[in-house]
């Protein structure tokens, strides 16, 4: 088991969300879109250097800003 940020995941790599180090608003917004501790998340790709990271969660794709992606800690098997 390895801990890393969502941003550090490779493309196509799956992980489990461990925690979100953000403010309340940020966490709630992520929760609403299904990103919350315990959920499996797959990184699809990232755009441009410092651009948003696209992830697959539940059955949808969500683009998450670069800064946010660094606050989401995931665990990789």
């Amino acid at each position: 088991m390895k801990k890393m940020t969502l941003h550090q995941l490779n493309a196509d790599q799956a992980g489990t969300v461990l925690e979100i180090n953000g403010g309340c608003g940020l966490e709630e917004k992520l929760n609403n879109l299904g990103i919350r501790p315990g959920k499996e998340i797959v990184k699809i790709n990232e755009s441009f250097i410092g651009g948003p990271v696209t992830v697959q969660i539940d059955h949808t794709k969500v683009a998450v800003g670069h800064g946010m992606a660094e606050k989401i800690i995931v665990e990789v098997a």
Binding site: N31, N32, L33, I49, Q56, D58, V64
Partner: protein, 669 residues
């Protein structure tokens, strides 16, 4: 409740679950829809169609912006929350994306707690089978304690069932399957704990009703497409190529084919009216009717096909899900200049019309970002500016597709520079609003939906042409025909007309830009009423009956002719185009800016800024262009430079908000 009373139904659900599509399907309205989150910004009401209602009490449906939960994050989610909490609708229709139950039901359980009867519409239910998902609808209905109806809003399926379910439950009291109890909303851990319990509950429902064959992390064609169009390096070039293709198609290939037909009709109408009037009618009336109204409005309407084709293509791009990716691709740039990828949504909407574009800035939470986006959105060339682009591309540049594409990228460039200037002046002390956006699935774009979208935008264009532009052109014709003594101006003495005397002082200001003729100044002025007027007014003041040659299948087949009448060099023509596109938008858009900026100082600052930017961009285009083509600077370089300098200082003065004076001082220090 009395059966004869009108009942009110609120349409709620997650963004992009198809609320507006369903609303359009049950009411027959044509509100704008798009395959991405956050298209609907305001509530919109409509009566449900008679044939769905089966003679029951009348139903008013209210379409609300999408929301993920009752504790909202963006302000358009607030509209939804306020409406269902305070306006007391009789029934709530909760539109749920059937392919994404696990996320949607969180909001559903919150709605069920309100006590208002809820009907769940399992929308996009046709996709369930396609994705090998098995859903037990009856079990779901039982677990939630409310009717659950399968619908496919895009194909008008399940609408009768939905409406009859509404009538069944309208007088009932809704019981909640899950109660959060009294949660102290200021206590973060309590809210989190309550949310967690709710998620657990939703998960338990999903486990009972849903079985999926396809695992979510399996790579699909969808992912492959995303890897290409949202690619690190290729994303932006691909966007550029797509926009260029859209322009070439609408302006040089498909658009003109239809345009010729239109122009043929207008010519026939003109000839018909001319023969009806005969020679006995006063020449003044003839001039107003033929040159002013038919000529002026006809010139604008002649561009309608080009615009319709463009709208159609943009609607296809929106519908297939590509536009949502553009926000991801562009986020990086916008962040660099103090905005976020969210800012591009208003700007893309602004390519249709700046007014809804400016209104769409409401999704941006950060005040400074919102204001900046609202004042910069009108720099995106809107539908009304297209005839101007098409006219100049045709008359001076042989219909080159690059003219339109360049104007869009110039718009984006100005927006980026503008955002930098605003950030410099106001100081970047705001917290960065995080970017997060759901990406809709790609789907095959529907010709029908794109046609509808095109028709509704085209209709607005025609209505404008038939009202405000018609009046303006008649007024312009009258002002051009008479002098201040209300005598008809003599042939060759046009410069004594009312119009010329009003526009002349302004035209002096335009000399450094290369087009100091009163006719061009007059067209730019009427452009502030509506940008389509620029073409109409030019047609009237230069008495060019139509800009399109029907024989040669080309827009402005006699391009050189039009060009010589105006007496402009290509460089000056480009400068004039730049001036019209990037000076303040029409009055209606300024009204929308006023509403979103929420500050008179920002509003005047924005208008001043837009005027200055347009002037400066036009000045540079003309002077630099002339320097390149002829080797020497254009006329009026020095006074122009002084004017540009003066404008720069005005920008700085206006943009300094009282509260932000301090931060400016620190920036300068």
């Amino acid at each position: 409740m009395n059966n004869q009373e009108t009942i009110r139904v609120a349409l709620t659900g997650n963004p992009n679950s198809g609320k507006t599509t369903l609303f359009n399907a049950i009411t027959g309205e044509i509100a704008h829809v798009g395959n991405w989150s956050g298209v609907t910004m305001d509530k919109k009401a409509g009566e449900i169609k008679e044939n769905l209602n089966q003679g029951q009490a009348e139903v008013t449906a209210v379409d609300l912006p999408g929301a993920y939960s009752m504790s909202p994050f963006t302000s358009e989610e607030n509209i939804t929350k306020e409406f269902v909490k305070n306006e007391d609708p009789d029934v709530i229709i909760n539109i749920v994306d059937a392919t994404n139950l696990s996320r949607s039901l969180f909001f559903t359980t919150q709605l069920l707690e309100l006590g208002i009867p809820v009907v769940v519409a399992l929308n996009k239910s046709d996709l369930i089978a396609k994705k090998n998902i098995d859903l037990d609808r009856e079990e779901l209905s039982e677990l939630l304690g409310c009717p659950v109806v399968n619908t496919v809003a895009t194909k008008n399926q399940g609408l009768e069932d939905l409406v009859s379910a509404v009538h069944e439950v309208k007088a009932e009291e809704q019981a909640a399957p899950f109660e959060a109890g009294d949660v102290d909303l200021t206590d973060r851990s309590a809210v989190e704990a309550a949310d967690k319990r709710r998620f657990e509950f939703v998960k338990s429902i999903i486990d009972k009703v849903e079985t999926r064959e396809v695992e979510s992390n399996q790579q699909t064609i969808q992912d492959t497409v995303d890897r290409v169009v949202a690619h690190k390096w290729l994303g932006i070039p691909i966007f550029a190529v797509i926009m260029w293709a859209v322009f070439s198609l609408s302006q040089t290939h498909v658009g003109p084919l239809f345009a010729d037909i239109f122009v043929g009709w207008i010519d026939q109408l003109n000839a018909g009216v001319a023969s009806m009037l005969g020679d006995s009618v006063s020449p003044v009336l003839r001039a107003i009717l033929l040159d002013g109204i038919i000529g002026g409005v006809g010139a604008v309407v002649g561009f309608l096909p080009l615009i319709m084709v463009l709208f159609f293509l943009l609607a296809l791009l929106e519908d297939c899900g590509y536009m949502a990716r553009v926000t991801v691709v562009m986020d990086r740039f916008f962040k660099k200049v103090g905005l976020s990828g969210r800012s591009i949504i208003p700007m893309i909407i602004g390519t249709g019309c700046a007014i809804p574009g400016v209104m769409a800035t409401r999704t941006i939470k950060d005040k400074r970002q919102r204001r900046t986006t609202a004042m910069l959105t009108p720099f995106m060339p809107c539908g009304a500016k297209l005839p101007v682009i098409a006219l100049f591309a045709g008359a001076f540049f042989n219909d080159a597709g690059w003219v339109g594409t360049t104007m869009y990228f110039l718009g984006i460039g100005i927006i980026i520079i503008g955002a930098l200037i605003v950030r410099k002046i106001t100081g970047d002390k705001s917290t960065r609003s995080p970017f997060i956006m759901e990406l809709p699935e790609y789907r095959f774009p529907s010709i029908k939906r794109a046609t509808k979208s095109m028709a509704s935008r085209g209709k607005a264009f025609v209505i404008k042409a038939g009202t405000i532009i018609l009046i303006c052109n008649a007024a312009v014709q009258i002002m051009q025909t008479f002098n201040w003594q209300f005598e008809v101006v003599a042939e060759g003495a046009q410069s004594t007309s009312i119009l010329a005397s009003i526009a002349s002082p302004f035209s002096i200001l335009l000399i450094p830009l290369g087009f100091g003729a009163w006719q061009l100044a007059a067209a730019a002025i009427t452009g502030f009423i509506a940008k389509e007027n620029v073409v109409g007014t030019l047609a009237v003041v230069y008495s060019i009956t139509n800009f399109i040659n029907p024989e040669e299948f080309a827009l402005v087949g006699d391009g050189t002719n039009v060009a010589s009448v105006m007496g402009l060099t290509s460089v000056a023509a480009l400068a004039y185009l730049v001036f019209n596109l990037f000076t303040p938008p029409c009055f209606a858009a300024i009204g929308a800016m006023n509403a979103e900026l929420e500050s008179k100082k920002w509003l005047w600052g924005a208008i001043g800024f837009q005027f200055s930017v347009g002037y400066i961009a036009s000045f540079l285009t003309y002077q630099v262009g002339t320097l390149i083509t002829t080797g020497s600077l254009g006329t009026g370089f020095l006074p122009g430079l002084i004017a540009v300098g003066a404008m720069m200082s005005v920008i700085v003065y206006f943009m300094t908000d009282e509260e932000e004076v301090q931060s400016e001082a620190t920036v300068n220090a």
